[in-house]
């Protein structure tokens, strides 16, 4: 029977909505006579092409998978694998340059790809909700939160103003926004990133859709917030009996939430099946490589991270056979032929030509020597960098109406780095870690405190003195796209510091550039190319080469690998480790990812709202974290292991980092801390020694 009867449908929905919402009844589509055995959504042979300057690029090259009712499916892959394109094509939200050339997406008996625009509008937001990656830009800045949530209700369920307001309020409470009544009439900029993503969830679930599509829903959020949002989202979806399609690059997210997983590589599916089967017994070398190259907190520290060499193919020139073959250590002749997904011994589907050999245990990923656990740097040499009680206060005004306020971005930080040592500086966004890095580079002037570089006071160095000091320390920035001048060739970019400092010119400089490119694993002839011709990983290598040009003693890596894909990230981390050893470099490695820091740092500092809350040698910090915040960070970091993840309790993760505009009195972490008492709220605790080289700024860390 035809299921789609918009008029009656909306009618039923409207009358039963209140009951549905409070009681979480199973969506009524099941009552409408649809078979429950049929998948909710079946994608068949989906092909999408983009028109680009380089001709037609096939972004999706035959994608098949299904989403069952009340099922959580994760599509995982690296950037450019086509995972977001899949989600957008389902919703009819592809950019103008894209075109669906083949395939079907059958949702409850109707093909989403062939729907009229009116039908598609009636389905979007009503039966399929969507949550996007960046909560900072996904909400309209000029409309109130209440309006933006209520809009969906008014559009699809025909709610009046009062009704939609009441329901919106209910929704806001539902997604855990405190003080919902007063926040209804506020604008997006008055919400934190985590709260905005909660608002997005409220919009996505407002009409109780049957399917929620979440495109990288937590990538832009801090670790501790990320876990809360994912728990909220998957919990609500389960309560509603809806299905969830999560698009992500984070294997830990997949492991924790997904029933089934689809692994994509270069516009095709490499492997799919039940999440635990795919994670425990990958039957495709790409899946295996991906799982191995993610740095983990629950595995021993290795000298080198396992990597997938090379980089994903250009989708305009994708090999006809297995797209992964050029990077695969086990490729054979059969890999150049067209491959299809075939069932494996574990009940999953894999497109690997050698899956049977993997299953039989004849072949394993990698097997490259990972080396022993790295030795820590020597402690007895004089420090190359000493930072003493560094403070940076900003005067800011939050708007026309508010008075000027002091933001304590960095509030009394001390640290020292010895030659050959790597200090990891960990914290969430807004904790002041980048400001600290900028002050050390003297890109920002400290409000007070002292910076000593190689025995010279650099706090107020100017002109030539500063230029001399800058030869000693260099920086690698986060964004490999924005930190290279698009109009300069790679060679010019790398050679520029040498020219500025008058070290080398002409042929000598060119030769040095070639050496540097070699050192960072790029071919010397790349010197003539422009940044836009390079991939993200290559650009980050160029950034490192530029930093090395001055033969510095210290490199500040400000989130230097966070923008990179897992397999590329491992390559760059390994490169940094090698360079450190061969050139006796020191790093100040600023990052938010504890697992990556663990692989590179000798000592780790944890920062929270402008202050260091814990400092310890690497092994001690990860084995015996003492500050409740460090423990929370470690608890929040997901690992790609379904058993472990599903067993984990999330109770400990609460709250969000406080606004630096209105810091809490006393210990900044107290409002989120399970151990906090009255004393903690009186004055900020100072760092005190609790073990060998272990310092903690907490009054109750022993409690």
């Amino acid at each position: 029977m035809p299921v789609w009867m918009p008029q009656t449908y909306i009618g039923i929905q409207k009358s039963t909505c209140k009951i549905l919402f409070l009681g979480f009844r199973v969506p009524e589509a099941r009552e409408a006579g649809l078979s429950l055995d049929e998948p909710l959504l079946a994608i068949k042979n989906l092909k999408v092409e983009f028109a680009s300057e380089r001709g037609i690029v096939r972004a999706l090259d035959g994608v098949d998978f299904e989403i069952g009712r009340s099922e959580i499916v994760a599509v995982v892959g690296e950037s450019g694998s086509g995972k977001s394109v899949t989600a957008l094509s389902l919703m009819g939200l592809l950019p103008r340059t894209a075109r669906v050339t083949a395939g079907q997406a059958v949702f409850e008996g109707r093909d989403l790809l062939k729907m009229s625009s009116a039908d598609l509008c009636a389905t979007r937001g009503r039966d399929i909700g969507m949550i996007f990656q960046d909560p900072m830009t996904s909400l309209n800045p000029t409309l109130t939160i209440g309006f933006q949530i209520g809009e969906t209700l008014r559009e699809h369920l025909g709610f009046g103003p009062a009704e939609s307001r009441a329901r919106t309020l209910e929704l806001l409470k539902w997604v855990g926004i405190p003080d919902a009544e007063s926040r209804l009439d506020q604008y997006p900029h008055q919400f934190s990133g985590g709260m905005r993503q909660r608002v997005m969830i409220a919009i996505g679930l407002a009409c109780q859709p049957k399917l929620l599509i979440a495109d990288e829903p937590t990538t832009a959020l801090d670790v501790t917030v990320q876990a809360q949002i994912l728990d909220l989202m998957s919990g609500l979806v389960r309560k509603l009996g809806a299905s969830l399609l999560i698009i992500t690059h984070n294997l830990g997210v997949v492991a924790r939430y997904a029933d089934r997983v689809v692994v994509m590589y270069s516009g095709r599916i490499a492997e799919r099946g039940e999440a635990s089967a795919v994670f425990n017994n990958p039957r495709h070398f790409y899946t295996a490589g991906l799982l191995n190259s993610a740095p983990r907190l629950d595995a021993p520290v290795q000298d080198r991270l396992e990597t997938i060499e090379g980089q994903p193919p250009d989708p305009a020139n994708r090999p006809e056979g297995c797209a992964f073959a050029p990077r695969c250590p086990h490729k054979i002749a059969a890999c150049t032929q067209k491959l299809s997904l075939l069932p494996t011994d574990k009940g999953t589907l894999s497109a690997c030509a050698r899956q049977e050999e993997i299953a039989a245990g004849h072949l394993h990923w990698g097997g490259k020597a990972q080396g022993a656990e790295p030795t820590l740097a020597k402690q007895d040499e004089p420090a190359i960098l000493t930072v003493d009680n560094l403070v940076k206060h900003y005067m800011v005004s939050a708007g026309w109406r508010s008075p000027m306020r002091i933001v304590k971005a960095v509030d009394g930080v001390s640290l020292s780095i010895k030659p050959g040592q790597t200090i990891g500086l960990v914290g969430e966004s807004g904790c002041g870690k980048s400001t600290l890095g900028r002050m050390i580079l003297r890109l920002d002037d400290p409000t007070s405190g002292r910076i000593m570089i190689g025995g010279h006071d650099a706090t107020h160095a100017k002109g030539d003195d500063l230029r001399q000091l800058r030869r000693l320390f260099q920086v690698v920035f986060q964004d490999p796209y924005a930190s290279l001048n698009p109009r300069k060739t790679i060679g010019e970019a790398i050679g520029e510091p040498m020219r500025v400092h008058g070290i080398a010119k002409g042929a000598k400089a060119n030769q040095r550039v070639a050496e540097l490119l070699n050192q960072v694993g790029l071919r010397p002839e790349m010197a003539d190319r422009f940044p836009h011709q390079m991939s993200g990983g290559q650009r980050q290598r160029i950034g490192i080469a530029r930093a090395l040009a001055m033969q510095p003693k210290l490199i500040i890596c400000d989130e230097a690998v966070s923008a990179l894909d897992v397999s590329i990230q491992a390559q760059v981390v390994n490169l940094l480790t090698e360079l450190k050893r061969s050139m006796n470099l020191s790093y100040l490695f600023i990052a938010h990812d504890l697992a990556v820091v663990r692989h590179i740092a000798d000592e780790v500092l944890v920062m929270y709202l402008g202050r260091i809350v814990e400092r310890a040698p690497r092994d001690r910090l990860y084995a015996q974290p003492q500050h409740p915040y460090t423990r929370m960070l470690l608890a929040a970091a997901p690992s790609p292991d379904p058993q472990r993840e599903k067993a984990r309790s999330q109770a400990a993760l609460v709250g969000e980092p406080p606004s630096p505009f209105a810091p809490p009195p006393g210990c900044a972490f107290a409002p989120r801390c399970p151990l906090a008492n009255e004393e903690c709220r009186r004055a900020p605790p100072v760092l005190r020694q609790t073990g060998p080289d272990h310092h903690v700024a907490c009054l109750r860390s022993e409690a």
Partner: protein
């Protein structure tokens, strides 16, 4: 908000003093002397003594700092002095002429917006199509054709087709409202076309930017019809830069109607300025320039306030 208004007002006063000093000095440096022009222009023979007496009477013989102090002290209680030519108060000279200029400017702005909004939206939505191209041609023509030439073409066309020509004498609103409007409509059309071109181009590009924003995608994912996506979610944000342009252009109109007024024989402040410059009427020029500056700042301030109304992040 109060703080913002107070600080704007402070900047306003500072800018005004700056403009006053600059225009005073520039006029004194520039060649030309009002007494010479007034008395000897027709080839009349006037004794040096008479000229000196006239200069004394107008205060032009005083040292420059004194003249400046005189002018500034007048300014402080809104006295712009008297025209050195007609002897009438500058305020009166300006106020009798400002009306017609303002009317043309406002009418041009209304026409400009009325044309620009649909054109800007249409060309953004049909990006790259023949319609977009056609609108681009219309806009570029409006921007590149000089207004006086367009004005003359328009007048010629009207004269040849329906035999109409603008009245020689200014018709006031009270004696004949339609006649009054009819003398404004031609200049307003010519100026409004140019205005509409600037605003439409700006609106097109900002709308194209906004249509690529994530929140527009969110609005579409909610299942809103495209019409609502554009009106509710895209247009509000896309209008901000267009408003800035419209504000700047409008402020510029007041002083920039000089040529148009000449062509259409309108007795506005533009013509007054040309006249004052020709006669080296220092006090009148100073008064007019100051008025333009004030007007410019007021319009900018209004645009800022409008921004705050439209964009909650700025409140």
């Amino acid at each position: 908000m109060t703080r913002y208004i107070l600080s704007s007002f402070g900047q306003f006063l500072l800018t005004l003093v700056g403009v006053a000093i600059l225009i005073f000095l520039l006029l004194r440096v520039a060649p030309g002397d009002v007494v010479e022009v007034k008395m000897r222009s027709g080839g009349a023979v006037v004794s040096a003594d008479t000229i000196a007496r006239e200069r004394t009477r107008l205060g032009l013989d005083k040292p420059l700092p004194n003249q400046f102090v005189d002018w500034m002290s007048g300014l402080s209680h809104f006295d712009l002095g008297k025209s050195m030519w007609t002897e009438r108060p500058v305020v009166e000279e300006i106020s009798t002429r400002i009306g017609i200029t303002l009317e043309v400017a406002v009418l041009a702005l209304v026409i400009g917006l009325a044309v620009a909004l649909p054109l800007g939206i249409a060309s953004a939505l049909s990006n790259g199509s023949w319609l977009d191209q056609a609108i681009r041609v219309f806009s570029v023509a409006g921007l590149s054709a000089p207004p006086f030439w367009l004005g003359m073409l328009l007048l010629l066309a009207l004269l040849l087709s329906i035999g109409w020509q603008p009245p020689i004498k200014t018709i006031s609103w009270s004696e004949n409202p339609i006649g009054h409007l009819s003398q404004l409509i031609c200049p307003a059309l010519v100026v409004g076309w140019r205005l509409s071109a600037t605003i439409a181009r700006m609106l097109r590009s900002s709308l194209l930017d906004v249509l690529n924003e994530d929140y527009v995608r969110t609005a579409r994912s909610k299942g809103l019809p495209e019409r609502l996506v554009i009106i509710r979610h895209a247009l509000g944000n896309a209008l901000l830069p267009a408003i800035t342009v419209a504000g700047l252009e409008f402020a510029f109109l007041l002083g920039g109607l000089v040529v148009t007024e000449q062509v259409f024989n309108l007795n506005g402040v533009g013509r007054l300025l040309v006249q004052a410059v020709g006669q080296s009427d220092f006090t009148l020029i100073q008064g007019l320039v100051l008025m333009f500056a004030v007007f410019f700042m007021v319009v900018n301030f209004a645009v800022d306030l409008l921004y705050a109304v439209l964009d909650p992040r700025l409140r």
